[in-house]
């Protein structure tokens, strides 16, 4: 890393800032010029659930990039326990606590 010039890293950071801003704020800023059809607007209602599952499922079932549903991957049983708890009581904090406790317990038990 020492061989890498500070100027280059700052430039890299700035390009990261620009790219992030364009994607996150861009759609909010185009305003009236862009009209989305009624059908597209209706379809976008489903975006949150789809985005979250697309984020969560690979993290849970293939943390190393390969599908792993053995107990060696403690994430999926922990997520299952947390989900069962959340269906009974919708508390984010409780879900994280119970999920992490299960995760740690399985890893200690296997270690």
């Amino acid at each position: 890393m020492n061989q890498m010039a500070t100027r280059d890293v700052v430039l890299a950071i700035l390009s990261l800032v620009v790219a992030t801003f364009v994607t996150r704020a861009g759609m909010l800023l185009v305003g009236e010029r862009l009209r989305l059809s009624r059908h597209v607007e209706a379809a976008l209602r489903f975006a949150p659930a789809c985005a979250l599952t697309a984020l969560v499922l690979p993290e849970v079932l293939s943390p190393s990039g390969v599908l792993d549903v053995s107990l060696g991957n403690a994430r999926w049983p922990a997520t299952l326990v947390a989900t069962t708890f959340l269906l009974w009581r919708p508390s984010m904090l409780g879900g994280i606590a119970i999920g992490m406790a299960t995760y740690v317990a399985i890893r200690l038990w296997l270690a």
Partner: protein, 242 residues
Amino acid sequence: MRRPWHDPAWRAEFSRGARDMLPAFPGILAWGLVTGVAMVKTGLSVPLALLMSLLAYAGSAQLAALPLIAAAAPAWVIALTALATNMRFVIYGAAMRRWLTTYSKRRLSALGYLSGDFSFVLFMNRVAKEGAFEHRDAWLFGVTLMNWVLWQLASIVGIVGGAFIPTSWGLQFAGTLALVPLVLPACRSWAGASGALTAGCVALLANGWPYKSGLLVGVVAGIVAATAVDNFTSSQREGGHP
């Protein structure tokens, strides 16, 4: 109103937003910490890592950019990678914008810059329940600023203490767990559940595609599936022919 902060109703919504974000704190802290550690483990000096954390508030795009920075990739490659990794936020923006058209460009810029996965889902869940509630901007600022502060605190701890924090603890899993309760309400309808399932499975199959494109493909596939099921179930309800 030029200075919305002086309006007690605006302030009330702002603090409500901050409070609504608070239960996610273990997830955000764990995620921020992991990102902070990753920055210094890549070889960024502490000042540069701090600069990156404070300016480029980007999470997954930050993590994607790190190996490129280490390999001294040109800035435009890093920008393209960040664009690709952040593509889901374009869909988020498209979904949110009809609720935010009344606000000034400056305010929208700030909200866009601060927005993330959490604020998007919390916002969409709330407007689905309450419609265009008063002072949406205030609430969203509360949510996103709370997220920002928690993230930065954890990230700074990770940067400064990076050498002492092993990456094998699996802390980032807390961040994944924090997202689970946000999915469940949307899965109560057939359309929402089938969309979520499709998105998850497609993302899983496409896991490891370059630039997190599997994630984007999963989201789009899920939205299409949910819409198809929604059209089918609503035509059944109306008793008409599908």
